[in-house]
Symmetry: C2
Subunit: 262 residues, 2 copies
């Protein structure tokens, strides 16, 4: 019986490289997961500045040299070792694949962006339930009506992830996640989806819906799918992202992102 | 009698625009100060990536569009409203001036980098003395033998500022400054200058020496002059920095940088 939480990053990446396509929430407990966006070098400055201007949704953990297929924080192969990828041409999503070697380009710069899965173990240890892990589904994610600060050709709405939290535990959830600023930190909103322009929680733009039970509030965190919403707006000729929820499992410990950025 | 601590950023910038050249430590209490490095657009990506890879010395607070002379955090004129500037040609410092309008270029991107002056008021409020403010001199800064992580054409040593702290107050100094990660945060070293490759505290590379008294330890913080050490190494055709200690007084409150980034 596979115990995803107990796997090492090396072991998990080997499974993904062999073709296993699964959301990674709850996998490799204690190891940091990251969002991927790979862009042609020509777009790298605009994107890095976009991330600097929007650190809540886009906290940059690592950046590769053009064409590089591994990263300081990721000893695997960025082209094969994520569970699934989305490929964009001119801002349109044209494919979901588990291997991007045939589409790789020497001018691609890979950005690894912090992921809120990093603080889910800390939430659960503190007694805050994480519904999508209990349900074995992908976290629900939503496009909002909050515009990011643009940078050059990059602009777009903030994407958020949502976890239902019992009202009495909301302060715990805020306090605990605020300790992880490099992986989205404290929530951006608690309670009212319409305040973010989210019309229907049961229809997420990415991932799977989860039940919000009586006595629970929907809590929203900035999400590292935001760069892909910017790709859809900016329409660069080519880009590769992770399939939402199907993250890069890095070789960095969650604890490395506990507390101040550094 | 001028009370520098009580001035608004607007008032201080007007004095600097009129030609007053002075270190700004202790000025405009409660308002964030920033380091400046202006580079040709061609170098902007390499520098922004250098900053991303070296967030302790190079925490980016704001970035302008090419040629812009003000910034989101700085409503003044970046060409005149700092007390003094250093001009670099091919990595060589060729002039110190109080106005760079005659040398301005339309392709210059200005980076505002967090400055440790931001947490000095918090140190003093907690009873940690700040010697260079007491003495009315510039903070001492040193080139170290710690190499930054390079990025493209940018590389160089970390620069540090030093404040002598009574040994019993060192934990306070660490704890208080750690709360400001966007303005260098906790010290990088306590106690032994030679561990940083600093041979003689009485001969700082930038700024003025201060007395380290019996019972005090020298405490070292990463410093936003580090980009200028990288300019000296990388030798871009042109660059402008602030004269060390002569900072950009921004329109952001110190409190905005208290706690986690964002």
């Amino acid at each position: 019986m596979l115990d995803p939480a107990g796997l090492s990053p090396h072991e998990a990446r080997a499974l993904f490289r062999e073709g296993l396509a699964t959301p990674t929430s709850g996998w490799c407990s204690g190891w940091t997961q990251a969002n991927l966006i790979a862009l042609p070098k020509d777009y790298a400055y605009d994107f890095l500045l976009f991330a600097q201007r929007n650190p809540k949704p886009c906290p940059v953990l690592d950046v590769t040299e053009p064409g590089e297929t591994s990263a300081s924080l990721f000893a695997g192969d960025l082209r094969t070792d994520l569970p699934a990828y989305w490929i964009y041409e001119d801002g349109e999503r044209v494919a979901e694949v588990t291997d991007v070697r045939s589409r790789w380009r020497g001018d691609l710069v890979c950005f690894l962006i912090g992921c809120s899965f990093t603080f889910e173990a800390a939430l659960m240890e503190a007694g805050v339930p994480v519904r999508h892990i209990e349900a074995g589904t992908n976290v629900p994610m939503y496009l909002t009506d909050r515009e990011c600060r643009p940078a050059g050709r990059m602009s777009g709405p903030m994407v958020v992830s949502m976890r239902p939290v019992p009202a009495g535990l909301v302060p715990h959830a805020v306090r605990i996640t605020a300790r992880y600023p490099a992986v989205h930190g404290a929530p951006v909103h608690v309670g009212d989806p319409s305040a973010l322009g989210v019309a229907d929680l049961s229809r997420p733009d990415f991932g799977d819906p989860v039940e919000v039970r009586a006595g629970e509030l929907p809590v929203f965190w900035a999400c590292g799918v935001t760069p892909q919403a910017a790709v859809a707006r900016a329409r660069p000729p080519f880009a590769i992202g992770h399939a939402p929820g199907h993250m890069a499992v890095t070789d960095a410990r969650d604890a490395a992102y506990l507390g101040a950025v550094q």
